[in-house]
């Protein structure tokens, strides 16, 4: 028997259980729920959606669309899940883990939180190569910087860095950015 204070609940337990059951299962209505998600699940979907608003040089078009991740980040696993569900145009998405010294071409390179201090070095290496560099919560924005505002994911855009990287960002994406430099 459950004890609650100094009162024995045995006599009223059945009633309580009935009331709880009625409360839970009798009063349900299908109100549209608010949506929540894992931080990196959301960020991964942002990254995928950016592909609809960014133009890469045609010479870099390929059978696969490559997203590289520099540094340890949960976004890697989340992007792999996106890659199993989505394509960029007709191209299959491939997710790669890159070292900080890597020079391999990727359509998008994501610089994880722990590696944002190396951002400038990475940007110089990929300048003019048609790579969109996205930083994760960096104090200094890359072409696109993912940030958290009021418990929601937002993004900042640095147009000049995008241009240096050799990609073109659409005005529609600029209008959705929380800050444009």
């Amino acid at each position: 028997m459950l004890r609650l204070g100094t009162y024995m609940l045995s006599e009223v337990r059945a009633k309580i259980l009935l009331l709880l059951a009625a409360f839970v299962f009798g009063s349900f209505t299908l109100i549209p729920p608010g949506t929540e998600g894992n931080e990196y699940q959301i960020k991964a979907m942002f990254v995928f959606n950016f592909t609809k608003y960014v133009e890469w040089p045609e010479v870099k078009s390929n059978d696969v669309f490559t997203i590289g991740v520099i540094g340890e980040s949960e976004i890697f696993d989340q992007l792999e899940r996106v890659a199993t569900q989505k394509k960029v145009g007709e191209s299959k998405i491939v997710i790669r883990s890159l070292s900080i010294e890597a020079e391999d071409y990727c359509n998008i390179i994501i610089v994880s939180k722990s590696q944002t201090s190396k951002l400038e070095q990475i940007e110089k290496r990929y300048a003019g190569k048609g790579v969109l560099i996205i930083s994760d919560e960096s104090p200094r924005s890359a072409a696109i910087n993912l940030v958290t505002r009021d418990n929601k994911i937002r993004f900042e855009i640095n147009q000049s860095l995008a241009k240096i990287g050799g990609v073109k960002i659409s005005s529609q994406l600029l209008s959705l950015a929380v800050e444009v430099h």
Partner: protein, 658 residues
């Protein structure tokens, strides 16, 4: 029986109405991948995962068991799942109660903390946990097992491990889930249960409620004590658990009520079996009110009020003649404040203070250490923990300062250094734990002192791909002034032993692929180089009583097709030792149990048309292995038999809305 009928009635009616009303409206994770950029801008981050480090980065030796893995395993009892975690085992205490051991060490009383939806389930009189048809798993979302001390964060009961259970009874869960399960041993049923949980948002108000009713039998074999008495456990090892879980959340203000009723049928007693069985109750209620006060984007505070009331080890007046009635109540009101500050994107600090009372009352006319029928101990704690992710490594520093009016103040530090280098990771961890004796430790002990545990761990891992990784750790555990229980021909008590501990390693390899997934792990411990306590030791062996030096597990889930999976699992245990008395010269004598292989196999099925309806059908302990629970200390309780081969079916219905 009436209650079961009532449950079934509610369940069937609910399932019917939901299947009619919602049809194909259930969302799954694929719908998330269809959100547009504009829609994504409105998605909120779930707080629990916001600052979470990956398992590879987190400063602890962590095993995570997911909802999917729980379902596939076919397990019905938490013990079945925890046994597959390297370094965890189970042994018998007294009076039919089964407790837990970690890395060879008996952790039953106050050395392993079990959190169930944020509530500390350890009973407050002796600080013990009770396993076997307890802590229902049908509603669990995930189980995190942290081996090694969690005391700087969680307080005194977490010296060896923390088992953190999170159920679907939380604001993230919307929908309904229900399960019925039945297991049949050779001579009687093993378990039968019904579980139902639902959650709904009403604007900003989230409401969740869950009910569980289950019962079972510890064994259907014959128990024989060390004094020549025997009885058939088929009819005298009944276990029962009811659980009520209610939570609500409104704009950061949340409340939870948890009621846990657990009953053990006891005939094995302390050493010599009793002439008849008696019932023993472990009742707990928890109230938890907290508010997440978001002061800025970087700073939040959580003030929290909690109240826990328990009547553990309650033996009624009409119990067996050999069993003394026991009816004590423990109350623990507490207030605490936790503050979290994101100093920079790579640095966060969390700290706080807690004040609580340890109160107990004896309703049977007995007295406590103060000579009265009631006693109160006053406690306060202050803790701080910082995480700094820098170029060299992730550094975690933590400490807890605890004040108790019965003992000197204690200081518990913790340091963790973790580093991920491409596909490899490294963790170097050192923690201390300090536990003041519990209320009954003090009453039954003579000048009992606090015990201190220190644990050093090193883990390294390698991620072969995003779906396959290997981890290995080495550990060294030392408990000084360990508080040990003893029972000797009607006399029981507690004393401090000098020192006890183990060292060893654990290796775990996990792989996921199109075929399904597999987990292979092994745990090894030895007492070589460590001081052994008289109560726990096996003379001339490098291991301790009850727990095997090596345990290896293989857990597989093989996808047969879109709707079916085959889930075999195997546990191999090295030989174990049981204390059976002393010879004429006063030397301890032991019985050796040979190595054992336990195997389970379950088939998981999904209904091809009715989404959300699943079944698990299979057999636990296929080879009918003995699987006894041995007492991990030398107090003359014979091994308690485990279950015979068990056929089990679980039917589920889940309607989850995101």
């Amino acid at each position: 029986m009436k209650k079961l009928i009532l449950f079934l009635f509610i369940l069937s009616g609910t399932l019917q109405s939901f299947s009619q009303d919602t049809g194909g409206e259930t969302q799954d994770t694929t719908s998330f991948y269809n959100l547009s950029l504009e829609e994504l801008l409105n998605v909120e981050i779930s707080v629990a995962t916001k600052k979470a480090l990956t398992l590879r980065e987190s400063p602890g030796i962590v095993t995570l068991i997911t909802e999917n893995e729980i379902r596939n395993s076919g397990a019905h009892d938490l013990m079945e799942l925890l046994r597959t975690v390297p370094g965890l085992y189970f042994g018998v205490d007294v009076e039919g109660v089964v407790g837990i051991g970690v890395r060879g060490n008996w952790g039953h009383e106050g050395k392993v903390l079990l959190m169930f939806d944020g509530q500390e389930m350890n009973e407050q009189l002796f600080s013990s946990l009770q396993f076997g048809e307890h802590y229902p798993i049908d509603q669990i979302k995930k189980i995190e097992i942290i081996r090694g001390p969690g005391s700087s964060v969680y307080g005194g009961n977490a010296a060896y491990a923390v088992i953190n259970i999170v159920t679907n009874n939380n604001p993230d869960f919307q929908g309904i889930s229900a399960a019925v399960s039945y297991g049949q041993m050779q001579k009687t049923y093993a378990s039968r249960s019904i579980s139902i949980n639902g959650g709904q948002h009403f604007g900003d108000l989230a409401v969740n409620a869950g009910l569980y009713a289950g019962e079972g039998n510890r064994s259907d074999k014959v128990y024989s004590d060390l004094f020549g008495n025997s009885y058939d456990m088929t009819y005298e090892s009944h276990l029962k658990n009811y659980l009520v879980n209610f939570s609500t959340e409104f704009r950061g203000l949340s409340f939870r009520f948890l009621g846990d009723y657990y009953q053990v049928e006891d005939r094995d007693g302390y050493d010599e079996a009793m002439s008849e069985a008696s019932q023993m109750d472990f009742n707990s209620v928890f109230f938890d009110l907290k508010y997440k006060w978001k002061i800025s984007n970087k700073f939040y505070a959580i003030p929290q009020l909690k109240y826990k009331e328990q009547n553990p080890w309650k033996v009624y007046e009409h119990s067996a003649p050999e069993d003394a009635p026991y009816y004590k109540e423990a109350n623990i009101p507490s207030a605490n404040l936790t503050m979290h500050y994101d100093v920079r994107s790579n640095m966060e600090v969390e700290g706080g203070a807690e004040y609580y009372l340890d109160q107990a009352t004896d309703h049977n006319g007995g007295t406590f250490d103060n000579g009265k029928a009631s006693i109160t101990y006053y406690n306060s704690s202050y803790f701080i923990q910082g995480l700094w992710s820098n170029k060299i490594a992730n550094l975690t520093l933590g400490a807890r300062y605890h004040l108790n009016n019965a003992y000197d103040p204690s200081f518990v530090p913790r340091i963790g250094i973790t580093k991920v280098i491409h596909k490899a990771h490294f963790k170097l961890l050192y923690s201390k734990a300090y536990r003041s004796p519990s209320i009954e430790n003090i009453r039954l002990g003579e000048n009992i002192d606090p015990e201190q545990t220190s644990v050093a761990e090193f883990e390294s891992g390698y991620q072969f791909s995003s779906n396959s990784y290997l981890t290995a750790n080495i550990f060294d555990v030392t408990t000084r002034d360990a508080i040990l229980y003893y029972y000797d021909r009607g006399t029981e008590g507690y004393h401090n032993s000098g020192s006890t501990g183990t060292r060893g390693f654990e290796i775990d390899y996990k792989i996921k692929s199109n075929f399904g997934y597999a987990d292979f792990n092994v745990g090894f411990y030895t007492t070589r180089g460590k001081t052994k306590s008289d109560s726990y030791q096996v003379t001339d062996q490098n291991e301790l009583l009850a727990f095997p030096g090596i345990v290896a597990n293989a857990i597989l889930s093989l996808r047969l097709n879109q709707y079916a999976s085959l889930n075999p699992s195997f546990t191999w245990m090295d030989s174990r030792y049981d204390f059976i008395g002393e010879d004429a010269e006063g030397n301890s004598t032991y019985r050796k149990f040979d190595p054992e292989l336990m195997a389970n196999v379950f088939v998981g099925l999904q209904h091809p048309k009715a989404k959300g309806i699943t079944a698990s059908i299979g057999c636990a302990n296929i080879m009918n292995t003995e699987g006894v629970f041995i007492q991990p200390y030398n107090s003359n309780h014979a091994p308690l038999p485990g279950r015979s081969r068990e056929f089990r079916i679980t039917l589920r219905y889940d309607l989850v809305r995101k």
